[in-house]
Symmetry: D2
Subunit: 338 residues, 4 copies
């Protein structure tokens, strides 16, 4: 931690800060420059007490945190990449894993058709929402447990592993009964009771970055899950909110190489929610693979014209299949196995 | 709803969209312009089915929603402003209500001192977190029920009404037992199970705008609560996330007049979280009042230098008192009672 | 300046950085923490050489600049507030100055009517664009020199000082012949040849913040002007670009207290461009005054329904007058003279 | 164009808007829905007069523009992709063109070394700034004409075409004398006098997207150039400004497929400015190619540790060469010739 004093700070201001630094269990290393003093905060003290109070001292301009606040999710804790093993399906390392399926489970027929298309196209995992976080209370909220049952049946039928969202800490147990991977949606990236609850299970978790989440907040959300003992966390990038409104969100693809530097966890990209239009999905999916992502979470629908949610951003089965085919030589070029 | 067809759309594309519009229960009103056709979607059909599918049709450029999707929170449902009555303390109308207190309840002594300062300064309500949503799992998470008890005791002592955050749907009942107002934090604006749960109580709710929430999403979040039968919702603006990093968040103060046009619900401003620095709080608080807000949610701390959270953005008791005094003539100028 | 080394940086990496720091004329002050080393860069060396190269060294995680890079525009250079004197009309200090007029000068009649309304309402300065930066090349580009002449005539008629935009370094001399204040538009905040050119004149400058400009970039833009010898710079805040699309831009009103801390230059707010709608202008104007701004740059039009540009955000004369009246008691409350 | 009336709009309001629509030369097509009336604006009238005034009418909620405002840069004007031919080097179509070189021309030696490395690595064009837009007036501003001369000499030596920035309309002729391509920097995307000036030349232009530029504004900036008769415009994406601060800017890679739909102009990606760190450049460059971009504008430096600008984001010659090699199979996979 570094405390930057204002140029106008007095000797007394500096002394008072040094005292506080010591009280927090650190050693202060003041560095008197021409313009202003900078105080290095060194040692193993009460980081939080310092961070929450030093800025309140007169003469302090800024408190800059240097040490990364996440531990288990960081590269320093574990330098080699984590490969999450979902009952034989691997995410991470040199694998590139397709997770495909409809936004919502709408009916058994729709789901089974989508599952077959996902499998035929090359997916190893089936996505599909049974509990849906909808912006409006008057929108279709999902088939709930019935949807979960269909997902489990589709797994039986196709062998695809099931990833589905859980929104409520009270439903974690129920969803985990049916799902192979628990998805935490973007709106819930900082829903800490929910993160703690999935952290108590031993079901792998797909954690989506919030529309407004910094990398630091994203990794600290993963930390909430891992701190509970569940280390099987996959990070999913799905678009942030910016001034750009021609796409549903803005895909921040640089997150792939940046997170790769910071964390050992696998990184999955959702091209459907980030663009909001199936037409852009193949271009963005190829880019995600070339950038070094570990997998794709992609919406497909057997009949987008009659979808109950996200029709415009769902690939048709034939488009999905074609896209995967086109991605194979890219995978080879970047050393990934599809 | 309006469906904008691409300039290259064929007669067949247009026809297919018209058929779908009818299937959804609406009447299509096509308007053939020089460049492209625009199809008005008129009547009372299945809005959601249309919205989630029309964009998937070939030749469709854009689907624009015209009608506001919120009902109970909108001005059309109730044109006159809502005044929430919290056991005698009023928020909304021509009242300007101060809610002040520490970020976290840290101890009985700290809370009582803060409560007395809040009261002495002119506040009618006491804020203070017992359950804290912290970015890191290793940070102080609040005193939990013990904190709630202190809050209730401080109410006994001072007569101030208590507003405190609830994060977990499983704890709504517990928090409502002690609190006069349930606060939903910015990270939980779209935590729908939580919104539904507080919607079932008859305790007033202070709903904070998410860092990335649009006005539409904000009002739909209020709608989730109101749809459950709890109409006592207050909206709280606390800063959005933008490229500006010199303040903790960016206060979007235009939200005050814009929301005033869209909704009848009271609008409260949080100057502490939006700026992140106590030095800017008086300026922003005055601006909020002048812009037409109905109240202020403001962090004060008897000893910011030893705060366990948010020290740098907490006003000292004397600064709070001074600020309220300075705001009185502004309140008079804009017709608000402090 | 501070160089943060990666936790994995070797002794050799650190040494190499220290050598470079010395080569740039500074003294390195390394601080070895538990996790990583931080090197303070102290003294008076070649700041730019250091900033542009240190990040390229292996083992360097981050280079943090501490010292503010602006000089003339900063508070340290001149602690007391600058009052710009425009031929008797003062901006800054305890003055609150209204600058009002149409977006574009459309005709002599329109301008004169607007000028009279501005004066009647309480403005001391007349705004109006003769050279217009329009997003489309096919839009009305302004009356150019004819517009400037009308502005000068309106000054004769009303006594109002004239503020008008200059876009092209080749036209600075021409515009300065007619104008009392040269306006630099938001799109040109980092148009350095233009800034240098107005810096050579002795005409006061109203510099607008770019839609995406940080405070640092804003003050460095002012610095470009001041470095040329022209110290009469007024800063104008007009809304930044964020994800919010219900208003034309997002007014970052916290810029008022933050800039007040950083600079001695006067701060003017443009409520018209920031909101894009005349309905929100009074609320935002009052907020700007209460927050501590020094003036308002406000669009008014005698007949918004027939405006050639910005009709929807222009106040009618009677609304302007009414707004100024309502602002007077607020001005008194915050110690400003209208 | 569509005029959305408020639900509370009266018959008279609607009538008044219809009259105005007619006065602007259009036909109004009102569509009375259950909740509100929507007026289609059809025909060939004075689009601008309508856009700048209709929002000022009472009862109008929103004016939505449907028709794309750009003409020459749009797909409707020219459906097949434009291939810009720079004296034999092609940008667009099935070509993927590398433009590489240092941020600034620092000396003849540095430039020649960089040019040889660019050529050896596979670049067809040499980038290098002679006139530099620096945030601070006290930073190195480039070698100016001397830099241009070195660039021309490097072309002689290597056969690489030269792309270099022009910032001042008064210098367009000078820069065009030496350069093969005129670069318009992000800060100048809406510098209309400059755009007009390069539009008068017959030198190809590389136009960079502003940090805050929408696609519409970007294409209208191209339109300014093309409206002057210069059709050889290449679009360059280089990162937008968002809340993400771990990279220098946020690369909005979805711009590639979206712009591809809207325009026939070639699309080039700048991975250096978007990320700000050479470590991320290979990942992002591969992604750009896979997404369908037509070329790369990439910073390389023979000695980043002694760069006068942008050292941390410059690739070393060997890294550049290695990256190009790794990109070749991806190019083949997506049907592009490197």
């Amino acid at each position: 931690m570094i405390v930057v004093m204002e140029p106008s700070a007095t000797e007394e201001n500096i002394k008072e800060v040094e005292e506080k630094v010591k009280k927090c269990g650190f050693q202060p290393h003041p560095d008197k420059g021409e313009h202003q003093t900078v105080i290095g905060v060194v040692g193993e003290g009460d980081r939080e007490a310092a961070l929450n109070s030093l800025g309140a001292y007169p003469g302090v301009d800024e408190v800059i945190e240097i040490t990364k606040p996440y531990k288990l999710s960081g590269k320093e804790f574990k330098p080699e990449p984590t490969v999450v093993d979902i009952d034989g399906v691997k995410v991470g390392g040199d694998n590139f894993t397709f997770m495909a399926g409809p936004c919502s489970v709408e009916s058994k027929e729709q789901l089974f058709e989508a599952a077959k298309a996902a499998k035929a196209g090359g997916a190893k995992m089936l996505r599909g929402g049974a509990f849906k976080p909808r912006t409006s209370p008057y929108s279709f909220q999902g088939l709930k447990e019935k949807g979960l049952k269909y997902l489990a049946e589709a797994r039986e039928e196709t062998g695809l592993k099931v990833v589905t969202e859980v929104m409520d800490p009270r439903e974690v147990e129920l969803v985990a009964k049916y799902a192979d991977v628990l998805q935490i949606g973007a709106r819930n990236m900082q829903n800490y009771p929910l993160l703690r609850e999935v952290g108590k299970t031993d079901t792998p978790v797909l954690l989506k970055r919030a529309m407004t989440g910094t990398y630091r907040e994203f990794l600290l959300a993963a930390e909430y899950i891992m701190a509970g003992g569940n280390y099987d966390v996959m990070l999913c990038i799905r678009g942030i909110r910016t001034f750009v409104q021609d796409t549903r969100y803005t895909l921040d693809l640089s997150a792939v190489p940046v997170l790769r530097e910071l964390t050992h966890l696998p990184i999955v990209v959702d091209p459907s929610h980030s663009t909001g239009s199936w037409k852009y999905v193949p271009s963005i999916s190829k880019a995600a693979l070339a950038a070094g992502a570990d997998g794709l979470l992609c919406e497909i629908h057997p009949d987008p014209k009659n979808a109950l949610s996200d029709g415009p951003q769902s690939l048709k089965p034939e488009n999905f299949k074609e896209m995967v085919e086109e991605m194979k030589p890219i995978a080879e070029a970047v050393g990934k196995k599809i």
